[in-house]
């Protein structure tokens, strides 16, 4: 009886250990920072475009740009989207900007804060935390996310992969999709992103 008990206990421990090793959630490997230190400005030397900063973003000479802190802690230089004509201030929440979509309210003077006119997503930027919130407002979510990525990449002058380093969250409302609501869906080309149905 003792032999059976010992073998049984050993078997349980072995199975549990194997299962833990196989099933334990793996921590995704931390990506190396996109760069370190302050962004550098390279001389244009007569070129029509100049590469600025460690993000690799390209700007025309004299094009306004701004510094942005990434999730990795380093900084990068992007196009100045704050002063862009399409970006709107969230009057009710100082420091918050609508890059795309409507704030959903109008003021007594008739102005309604909004960013660029888009239909299936809203992008806000909180300047105090340098954080982007991307809200997908319509199905299909995969299309909405792709549209938002393309918009943000163009607005900031970054590639899809460089978007991954931003401080951001991609969310959707419960009224749009209860299953995916409350999850950070991530950008589609970033590691750990949720695969969305087309």
């Amino acid at each position: 009886m003792m032999r059976i008990l010992a073998i049984g206990s050993l078997a349980v421990i072995v199975v549990a250990a194997i299962a833990f090793y196989v099933l334990a959630p793996k921590q995704p490997q931390q990506q190396a920072p996109a760069g370190s230190g302050a962004p550098v400005t390279l001389p244009s030397a007569g070129e029509t475009t100049v590469t600025v900063g460690n993000s690799g973003a390209t700007f025309a000479p004299g094009e306004p740009n701004m510094s942005l802190t990434l999730a990795t802690g380093s900084t990068t230089v992007v196009k100045d989207f704050i002063t862009s004509s399409t970006t709107g201030k969230d009057v009710q929440n100082p420091g918050v900007y609508y890059l795309a979509g409507s704030a959903g309210y109008c003021l007594a003077d008739g102005t309604c804060p909004h960013g660029a006119a888009v239909s299936d997503f809203i992008i806000t930027y909180d300047s105090s935390s340098e954080f982007f919130t991307i809200s997908l407002t319509e199905e299909p979510l995969a299309t909405a996310r792709a549209d938002a990525e393309q918009f943000l990449a163009t607005t900031l002058g970054l590639s899809d992969m460089q978007l991954c380093d931003l401080k951001y969250t991609v969310l959707t409302n419960e009224s749009v999709n209860a299953f995916f609501a409350g999850k950070n869906l991530g950008f589609s080309s970033c590691p750990g992103a949720t695969v969305l149905p087309q």
Partner: protein
């Protein structure tokens, strides 16, 4: 003396076989008896994580210990059902196939099969068995066993004095910023941690400060709960009008008509640009729909302000501390997870 008579003298089960059945059965009862408190919301099959997400950086208390014990047992039972049981059933089938005329081989196969089936049934019914026995013996009712082996509402994390070094918040993975798993942004006076699920209304400290400006006070747990709810209701305050026709507004989608009184506070009056003058938002709506007049426009604008939205939400929480005004399953999952 024929074969039949010899067989009749042999007992159907010898002592060794009884022990082989009894021991696993007792083990399964003992293990399974722990499971059901969590089965109600976690359920089997359970594949982890064993340490609950969101509490993986705090010092574990008694509640966490019991949650982890329950999770381990759930995982073991899941493994038994998903991996071990199919193997033993397959082994029994194999014995049947290779022993077509050998009664002892067939009997062994049959006993393996029945042991497997009984083991699973006993493991899954263990909770009821122990609960029923305890209820009969102790006169404490059918929830007594749950209170003994569950976390029973006990805080999973120990309170840590704010003067002590706090656990490091979860590191964010490049590519997936904070949001899925909350990050710890600070510690309240009681040692409870403030959480952030993103930006704006998803930051518990911002929610608490906003409510304070409207004359309401929220606990750390209530602030965390509302920050969690904001993800589902307004994607952290980015999408304030997911349903443009409704009177639901602000980061927490508090109804402007039905909960009009909750918008009559200092923060909302300030946001509406009329300090000291109540908004009386009910005048801008009828049947839950906007009348598109000056009042509804002013109320939507005020509700867009985080301090006003947090104050209105805090007003509702004060009236219904169980957060019953946020009734969706997602909202209630926030309540169960963070309003503790």
């Amino acid at each position: 003396m024929g074969k039949g008579a010899a067989a009749a003298r042999r007992p159907r089960y010898d002592a060794g076989m009884r022990s082989r059945i009894l021991l696993p059965a007792l083990f399964l009862v003992a293990a399974g008896a722990f499971v059901l408190p969590n089965v109600t919301h976690a359920a089997i099959p359970f594949f982890g994580p064993i340490i609950p997400a969101g509490n993986d950086t705090c010092p574990a208390g008694w509640g966490m210990f019991m949650i982890v014990i329950n999770n381990i047992v759930e995982l073991l039972i899941t493994l038994a059902i998903v991996f071990v049981a199919p193997l033993t059933i397959a082994w029994a089938g194999f014995l049947y196939v290779v022993n077509p005329v050998d009664p002892s081989g067939m009997s062994r196969a049959k006993s393996i099969l029945w042991n497997t089936v009984f083991g699973i049934v006993i493991a899954l019914a263990a909770w009821l068995i122990v609960d029923a026995i305890l209820a009969a013996l102790t006169n404490q009712g059918l929830t007594y066993w749950a209170s003994l082996v569950g976390s029973n509402g006990t805080q999973p994390c120990l309170s840590v004095a704010s003067s002590l070094r706090q656990a490091a918040p979860p590191t964010t993975t490049a590519g997936l910023a904070v949001g899925t798993t909350p990050t710890v942004t600070g510690v309240g006076a009681g040692g409870q941690q403030y959480l952030s699920f993103g930006s704006g209304a998803c930051v518990a400290t911002a929610v608490q400060q906003g409510a304070t400006s409207g004359g309401y006070s929220l606990t750390v747990a209530q602030s965390n709960t509302l920050a969690c709810i904001a993800q589902f209701e307004s994607t952290c305050g980015s999408n304030l009008r997911p349903n443009p026709a409704s009177s639901a507004a602000g980061a927490f989608q508090v109804l402007l008509q039905r909960n009009s009184a909750c918008y009559n506070n200092a923060a909302c009056e300030q946001a509406a640009g009329q300090p000291g003058v109540p908004l009386n938002c009910q005048n801008g709506f009828s049947g839950g729909q906007s009348l598109n007049n000056a009042t509804s426009q002013m109320c939507y604008a005020a509700a867009a302000n985080l301090a006003c939205a947090a104050s209105a939400a805090a007003c509702l929480v004060q009236a219904n501390p169980n957060f019953s005004d946020w009734a969706t399953p997602s909202d209630q999952s926030c309540v169960r997870t963070y309003n503790i």
